[in-house]
């Protein structure tokens, strides 16, 4: 066994679980500090997320956002690129979705609008990632810096557009007009009235995100492009040796990554709000980084991590409601702890786990 190598079930199962438990233990300590019972808090959190139909609906709704942004970060990861710009790409992608809906909603049913909205979101998100990708590939400007900067530019641009261009005359709200039925995705509670989903906004975009998971898996592990992306990410010199152009792979990967982030707008803009709102991305793009890290860049892992973060979002809101001393800010602290342990401190427990498993695996090593 090579040093640092772990069996898959440890790499993808045990390690994330240990990180998660550590995050919850520290969160529990924080809850204790403010004089509440951590077990009580956990109970409310889990109940709020999964205990009743509407909670489940909201959890899945949030998870849909995280799947899109998580996939976006993961695809870039496979090429060794750290795309921090999911937030801005999703924001601009929302504009693409909204433009498609605004143009078509009065004339055609939703299922005609949908492909154009998906295309619009993907194209705008990809476009927003193109410039950082191109600058990285051609000029060596670091993608982390440029994508962060592009988040700010996206934010300012959208404020301008919503306040000055897209806002209907006479409206006081910085948003577009509401979309007609032809610009709204069906909600699951309408599609499956048999399930109790309360008033939750979970919609058809959930299935679109799952399709995206399958497509991303195929792309990364079953196509030549994916092979080139992974080769470039794992060993850039081997990629050059194999005749793979670093410029081409960097640009294409960033386009795909941006497109995935941009598609988050389907869920929020076309699915839930039926309009383009100021700051509708609400940090989902950033959470995508933690989701991708925790999910180890694999679509299955990303789905699981997305549901977990969906639970934290939805259950956290419930918890803040039920135990008023645990404020909204406390929930953010708990979410941040999970991100910290799953993402930033990913390697904290790793050496110990590797040492533990090498003791057993040492004798079975392949000569």
């Amino acid at each position: 066994m090579t040093k640092g190598q772990l069996p898959n079930w440890v790499e993808y199962g045990v390690l994330p679980a240990i990180n998660l438990i550590a995050a919850f233990l520290v969160s529990g300590a924080v809850v204790l500090l403010i004089g509440e019972n951590p077990l009580e808090a956990v109970k409310w959190l889990v109940w709020g997320a999964l205990g009743y139909g509407e909670g489940v609906g909201f959890t899945l709704f949030y998870a849909t956002n995280f799947i899109f942004t998580g996939l976006a970060v993961a695809v870039a990861f496979h090429a060794g690129l750290f795309n921090i710009g999911g937030e801005g790409q999703a924001y601009v992608g929302g504009l693409g979705v909204a433009l498609a809906c605004l143009a078509m909603d009065q004339y055609v049913p939703w299922y005609v609008t949908m492909p154009f909205a998906i295309l619009g979101g993907a194209a705008f998100g990809a476009g927003w990632a193109l410039i950082p990708g191109y600058l990285q590939a051609k000029r060596g400007s670091h993608i982390v810096i440029t994508t962060i900067m592009f988040n700010f530019i996206a934010s300012s641009l959208m404020v301008y557009l919503l306040a000055n261009v897209l806002r209907p005359q006479g409206s006081m709200q910085p948003s577009t007009r509401g979309f007609e039925e032809g610009g709204q995705l069906p909600l699951l509670r309408h599609m499956f009235p048999g399930f109790d989903l309360g008033q939750s906004p979970v919609n058809l975009a959930l299935f679109i995100s799952l399709v995206a998971c399958v497509l991303v898996w195929l792309l990364i592990w079953r196509t030549k492009l994916g092979y080139e992306i992974r080769t470039f990410g794992q060993n850039p010199s081997a990629a050059v040796y194999a005749g793979i152009s670093p410029v081409r792979i960097t640009v294409i990967t960033m386009l795909i990554s941006g497109a995935l982030a941009g598609m988050m707008g389907i869920n929020e803009v076309m699915g839930a709000q039926a309009r383009l709102l100021l700051d509708f991305t609400a940090g989902y793009g950033f959470v995508g980084i933690a989701v991708a890290l925790m999910g180890r860049g694999h679509p299955i892992g990303i789905i699981l991590a997305s549901v977990l973060f969906g639970m934290l979002y939805q259950g956290g809101a419930e918890l803040a409601f039920e135990i008023p001393t645990i404020t909204r800010d406390m929930i953010v602290v708990i979410q941040a702890l999970v991100i910290l342990f799953a993402g930033a401190l990913e390697y904290m427990f790793r050496p110990a786990v590797v040492a533990f498993f090498n003791q057993f695996a040492g004798e079975k090593a392949v000569a």
């Binding site: 090579t2 079953r222 030549k224 092979y227 080769t231 060993n235 040796y241 194999a242």
Partner: protein, 524 residues
């Protein structure tokens, strides 16, 4: 081991006074690699002592031990007659040892004064330190004839002057013993001459100098004593005046038995690869390949011999499309290619070239990938591996398994990560991939580096088979034995130039001299 340490000359040195450095029984291993074996070395005070050896002979490891980058597994270091522990470079500096690295440790945007002061600022405010450095540098520059503009930005200085700054840095820190690692590698001949003048002045002022090089001419030029390393051992020490380049070359290369390779005489036909006027610069803008022209004919193995770092790597990279050349054309199986234009390795593969790169870990393989994924690296775009829009994984895996059986790659599990195979098996994976494409031209760099003896024989056999099948094989290796036993013609590269062509029955001494840059005219 053929020649043991020359006790006589050691005695000579020690009778003249205290040795500046004495190493006793130094051993250092990196995993299974025994980089330094029982090294004894005595360096006389106030002398220039050269250490020669091929790449990988263990020179740099030994110097790193002396400078505190590595600690020896066993053995003693005695500096000025006192047994000294050197756990880090700070301790080395305190014992009066200074090092001038092959790649300078300078901060480019800083001025000369700032660079010299770095790590010896003294106090929170800089002004005092700057004044002290200025005064001291003025004195050093006068004493040793080492003029340099103290306020120049180091990045703007020519390489020779940057090196001078490195030497000044060491002297400023009070070094009495200077280690120079391949100091002339980046210098022009004129700069090298100036460096040697400085070194002589330093010696005459009582400093001790250890010069690491593989260039014999420099050793003869400037040193008083010379020690030869080969495969981790110190095989001899000589007074420079009493030895010759021929003897040193022989000591460096050794007299090992030729590996037995069964091969018929070559039957070369028309050239499949012709290179004309190739000039290649490396990433740092240094010209590494100079006016190289060569032909590789169908049915022959052309060997490129040379100490590593003399342009062979860049030659391979330029010919395989990985690196853009300054000038040069290549005729590859009927295609004329301008190598000064941008190409990708994929273009040349299409024309029938395969390439086994020198460094399989950095280039030839993706260590984290499964074996079967590595078995198509570079050929993954081939339609044969497609199934609609997807990669035909089942087919790739089946083909990989077939090759593993054919090449006896163990364990024969195509799903296993490539990093988990042994070096020999990894090399066979690369070789299988490149040979099974049935190329017309095969470039091979260091085919048996880090490969066990069993696999070496197998790999050699395959290379001969390629030749016998009428392919053109260009073989680059730093193992002279390997070149001599495989190649039908040998070109020797030194400092980017082809300095001579020989047949494989040329003596090792002759080849060794060429590899050390002693050309026909100069070797008496």
């Amino acid at each position: 081991m053929t020649i043991s340490l020359d006790k006589q000359s050691v005695a000579d040195v020690t009778t003249q006074g205290v040795a500046a450095i004495e190493l006793r029984g130094i051993n250092k291993s990196f995993g299974p690699v025994h980089a330094n074996k029982d090294i004894d070395l005595v360096v006389g005070k106030g002398s220039i002592h050269g250490i020669v050896g091929e790449n990988g002979a263990g020179k740099s490891t030994l110097m790193s031990i002396l400078y505190g980058f590595y600690s020896a597994d066993t053995g003693d270091i005695i500096v000025d007659g006192k047994k000294t522990e050197i756990p880090d470079s700070k301790a080395a500096i305190e014992s009066g040892i200074g090092m001038v690295h092959q790649h300078f440790m300078l901060v480019d945007p800083f001025t000369v004064v700032e660079n010299v002061m770095l790590g010896a600022e003294g106090g929170a405010m800089l002004s005092e330190g700057i004044a002290r450095v200025r005064k001291e540098l003025g004195r050093l520059a006068n004493e040793y004839d080492m003029k340099v503009d103290l306020d120049a930005v180091v990045g703007d200085l020519p390489v020779g002057l940057q090196q001078r700054v490195e030497i000044l840095k060491a002297l400023y820190r009070g070094a009495d013993i200077l280690i120079l690692d391949e100091p002339t590698g980046v210098l022009t001949p004129a700069e090298a001459d100036h460096l040697f003048r400085i070194l002589r002045v330093l010696r005459d002022e009582g400093k001790t100098i250890l010069l690491i090089t593989h260039k014999l001419r420099e050793i003869m030029d400037v040193t008083d004593m010379v020690s030869v390393m080969r495969r981790g051992e110190m095989v001899a020490s000589r007074k420079t005046a009493e030895t010759s380049m021929a003897e040193l070359a022989e000591l460096m290369v050794g007299r090992s038995v030729l590996l037995e390779v069964n091969k018929q005489p070559a039957a070369p036909k028309a050239p499949l690869l012709s290179v004309r006027d190739l000039n290649v610069k490396d990433e740092r803008g240094v010209m590494r390949v100079k006016n190289v022209s060569l032909d590789v004919k169908a049915g022959e193995i052309l060997g490129i011999a040379g100490v590593s770092g003399n342009g062979q790597s860049e030659l391979l990279k330029a010919l395989s499309g990985i690196m853009q050349a300054e000038t040069g054309t290549m005729d590859l199986v009927g295609h004329t290619i301008d190598l000064s234009k941008k190409h990708t390795a994929a273009d040349f593969r299409e024309y029938g070239m395969s390439h086994v790169p020198e460094d399989r870990h950095r280039m030839g393989l993706v260590n984290s990938f499964a074996e079967y994924e590595n078995s198509i690296l570079g050929y993954h775009r081939d339609e044969a591996y497609s199934k609609g829009m997807l990669l035909d994984v089942a087919k790739v895996r089946a083909e990989a398994l077939e090759r593993m059986d054919k090449y006896d790659i163990r364990p024969n599990n195509p799903d296993l990560q490539v990093a988990k195979f042994s070096g020999g098996n990894q090399q066979k994976i690369v070789l299988a991939r490149e040979i099974e494409r049935d190329p017309d031209v095969l470039l091979i760099g260091q085919p048996t580096r880090g490969v066990d003896i069993g696999a070496i024989e197998y790999i050699h056999k395959r290379i001969i088979e390629m030749r016998d099948a009428g392919k053109a094989v260009l073989l680059v290796s730093v193992e002279l034995d390997e070149i001599r036993s495989l190649a039908d013609r040998i070109l020797v590269m030194f400092d980017g130039n082809i300095v001579g062509e020989r047949t494989p029955d040329a003596s090792e001494q002759e080849l060794g001299l060429l590899m050390a840059g002693v050309t026909d005219e100069a070797a008496q």
